[in-house]
Every structure is written in C-alpha cells, then in structure tokens.
C-alpha cells in the first residue's frame, strides 16, 4: 500500500504541474497544453511509467480490498455501544470509502480524457497537434461535471491527508523529528495537490463558460 501509494503521490505532482498549463492565457494554453500532451503520449519512457501507474492503481486497490476483508474479520464482533470514533481521525477510518470514490472518478476521468486522446478522433490545433485543450474546456462547461470533480478531489484530499503520512510510517520512518516533519509535509502536500486540482475545473468553468 505504502509503495504504490507514494508512487501515485509522485504522479499527482507531475500531473498537476502539467495541467496547471490550462490556467495560462488561452492562446498560450492551447499551444502549450496540446504540445505537452503530444510529447507525453509519444515518449516511450512515459509509456512505461503510465503502465506502471495503471499497475499501481490496480495493486493498490486489490491489496486494499484484501486487507479490508482481513481487518473486518480481525476486528471481532461489534460493540453494543461504540464511541471509538472520538480517538482517531475521520479520514484514517474511511480510507476505503475515500479510495472507492477516487477509483470511480478515475474510471470516468480516464474515459473522458485519456481514452478519448488515445483512441478517439480529436480535432487538430493550429500547430497540427491533437486539440485536447478544447476537449477539456468543453468537458468543464457542464456544472455537474465540475462539481463531480470537486467532490472527487476533496475525497483525494482526505485520502492523502492520512495516506501520505501513513505510507512513511508503514515503511518505518521512526525518528521523531523526521516523522513530525513528514506529518506537516503531508498536510502541505495535500493542500497544494487538492487546491491545485480543484482550481483547474473551476477556472475553466468561470473563464470559458460564464
């Protein structure tokens, strides 16, 4: 869980950095974003990484399912009166729920952008690159879709809030100063990733559709 999770965290940074190009002025954004998409999809090294990413998502999900089933069994019979929720954070107790929301979103997200780009027929921009920019802009013209994205990114945020720090603990980072540093780094990482991903659909909706 920890290794695949941290690999996916690393991907989020790269993905966000690339997607933030959508916030550039329209003329620059079209050229930059479409060129970036072409370079990414044409690079063999990136292709290997992308298959590793798919594999990580699958392994992360399957392993999560296995340990959830095992943990349910290990928790024994239920308490008649249970106040245990006051002693741990909400996100730490609901990683499965949050992960499921993210997984459902991922399927929709990949279908709408990655699948379209890889297997669909896209118009070309002035430079002759596939115009993914227009696909993104038109997708975020629907308010319900923007809201769906925000909900998924909030789930991602809560998932990261526990997951980032927890991954390092599972790997065995035990010196207390380092551990505390990673806790605050996790909060910072979560804030940056979540805010960054939420800004994009909101910006596109407000800038191009209102």
């Amino acid at each position: 869980m920890a290794l695949t999770g941290l690999f996916l965290c690393l991907f989020l940074v790269v993905h966000l950095a690339g997607n933030l190009q959508l916030l550039l002025p329209k003329e620059t954004a079209v050229i930059q974003f479409n060129l970036y998409s072409r370079i990414l999809s044409g690079n063999y090294f990136i292709k290997v990484i992308s298959w590793l990413l798919f594999l990580s998502i699958v392994l992360h999900s399957i392993y999560a399912l296995i340990i959830t089933i095992k943990n349910r069994k290990a928790s024994g019979s239920a308490y008649a009166y249970d106040r245990r929720k006051v002693v741990s954070s909400w996100s730490s107790r609901n990683m499965g729920l949050l992960g499921s929301i993210i997984l459902i979103f991922l399927v929709i997200h990949l279908k709408d952008f990655w699948y379209q780009y890889s297997f669909g027929t896209l118009p070309l921009d002035d430079e002759g690159n596939k115009d993914l920019f227009s696909i993104v802009v038109s997708a975020y013209g629907r308010l319900w879709y923007v809201i769906l994205n925000i909900v998924a990114f909030m789930a991602l945020g809560y998932h990261l809030l526990h997951g980032f720090y927890s991954a390092f603990k599972t790997l065995g980072v035990y010196p207390s100063k380092l551990s505390r540093g990673l806790y605050y780094l996790g909060i910072g990482f979560t804030l940056i990733i979540t805010t960054g991903f939420i800004i994009i659909p909101v910006f596109v909706y407000l800038n191009y559709h209102t």
Partner: protein, 247 residues
C-alpha cells in the same frame, strides 16, 4: 450515587451474549470502577444471582489484567488510565454506563467480561525475550548506553499488555503491543544480536493469531493506559522491513 448499568453477560465462549440492565444504589465516588463491580456482585450474590465475572489482579494499574470497554471506550473516559484506576468520581449520579468486554478477532470472551488474551502471550513467546542467561545485574557501566536510550527503551517496556490497543483498533490489530515489545529490545545492546529473527517471528505470530493490519489510525496510542507511542510501530516496521530485505 445511583447508576444504571448495562453489562454484557455471556455464559460461555459459544453462547450468545447480551446486555443486561442493573440498577445500583449507594455507589460512592471514591470507589474504583472494579470496586463498584464488586459491590454489584455482593448484591447479586445475596439475591442468589450469578455474579458478573471480570478480569482483575493487582488493582494498581501495573499488571494489565483488567480491561473493560466502558461507555464505548477502552478503559473508560480517562486518558492514560487502566480500568482499576478509574474511579466513580468520573461519573455522575443517574448515569447510564455500558460495560462490555474487550473485543477482537484474536480475543475470545470466556464469560461475561472475562477475555482470553493468550494470543498476545503467544506473540511474546515467539520472540519477546533475549535467549542469553544474563545472571545477576552486572556493573551498570559495563554496557555503554546513554540515559536517553535507556529511557526510550523503558518507555517501550512500560506496555502492560492489557489489550486496549486491540480493543480500540477498528482493524483489531495488536501492532502497538507487538511493536512496544520489539522496540524495547531493539533499542538496547542486549537485544540487538537477535533483533532480525525476533521481529520476523513476532510479526508472523501476530498475523497467525488473526490480529488485523495496522492502518495508522493511532487510536491505540490515545487509549493506551501506559501512553505507549505509535513511534514504536514505526520502529517495528523499520526493523521488519530491514530484516525482510537484508536477510
């Protein structure tokens, strides 16, 4: 004070248990929680009813035998306190108190509030010791160890093995208990020669007993009467990963 008790009654490990209501008058606030149960049992015995069975031994907060799930929390509402050190002054006249046994897939209710926690003993038997006979206490300065290291090892060794960590964990994990025992010896020179073998054996035993995985919710640290830190779990993970990678 008068209390309304809802106590888990179960005849044997295979029987279905249920909460049974008791009204108890004349409880004094200076009574410990276990003394309150003694007081209830005296009344039950005089009425020719079966007393409520529960685990207890030293009643000084150091043996780890007592352990009840009180009002939905392991060892009740106070932090850093065993059930025997919880006093009735923490409750008010007219309160309803739910009393249940510690639960977990690797625990078994023997009767009422008595729980078989021998699964934890077997984890210790798998490696929570050093194999060398050390004889009498040696001259203190023959083994170089800093005061900070000694204190840190003692903090881990303070675990009394009550099982509150398992009872409060949503995964029924014994990670905090196992980790405290592993870290205690990993921090000291005497424990180092067998460190790799110990961590692998104890973690394997923990899994075999049916305890769950640690997902770092940290509820165990909050409920531990000895306030054992989850940093011990990080240390266990480190020792375990290292032992597995560097065979």
């Amino acid at each position: 004070m008068k209390l309304y008790l809802k106590i888990w009654r179960q005849l044997n490990p295979d029987a279905d248990g249920k909460l049974v209501d008791y009204e108890l008058n004349g409880v004094e606030e200076d009574m410990s929680f276990l003394e309150m149960l003694d007081y209830l049992n005296e009344k039950l015995i005089t009425k020719d009813e079966m007393p409520v069975e529960f685990d207890h031994d030293c009643r000084e907060g150091i043996c780890g035998t007592c352990g009840l799930f009180i009002n939905g929390r392991a060892h009740g509402p106070l932090a850093g306190t065993t059930t025997c050190q919880l006093h009735m002054r923490s409750f008010a006249d007219g309160d309803t108190i739910y009393i249940e046994p510690f639960r977990g897939g690797a625990f078994q209710v023997i009767r009422d509030l008595k729980v078989d926690r021998s699964s934890m003993d077997r984890i210790l038997q798998a490696g929570g010791f050093i194999s060398t006979s050390v004889g009498d206490a040696p001259e203190a300065n023959t083994t170089p160890i800093t005061h900070a290291e000694a204190e840190s090892a003692f903090d881990s060794a303070a675990c009394i093995g009550c099982g509150a960590c398992v009872a409060t964990c949503k995964n029924g994990s014994a990670a905090l208990f196992t980790a405290a025992k592993i870290a205690h010896l990993a921090k000291l020179p005497q424990g180092k020669p067998e460190a790799k073998q110990r961590v692998v054996n104890m973690v394997t035993q923990m899994d075999q007993e049916g305890f769950g995985h640690c997902s770092n919710t940290h509820a165990c640290q909050v409920e531990c009467p000895q306030e054992i830190s989850v940093a011990n779990i990080d240390r266990m993970n480190w020792e375990y990963n290292r032992a597995r990678l560097l065979k």
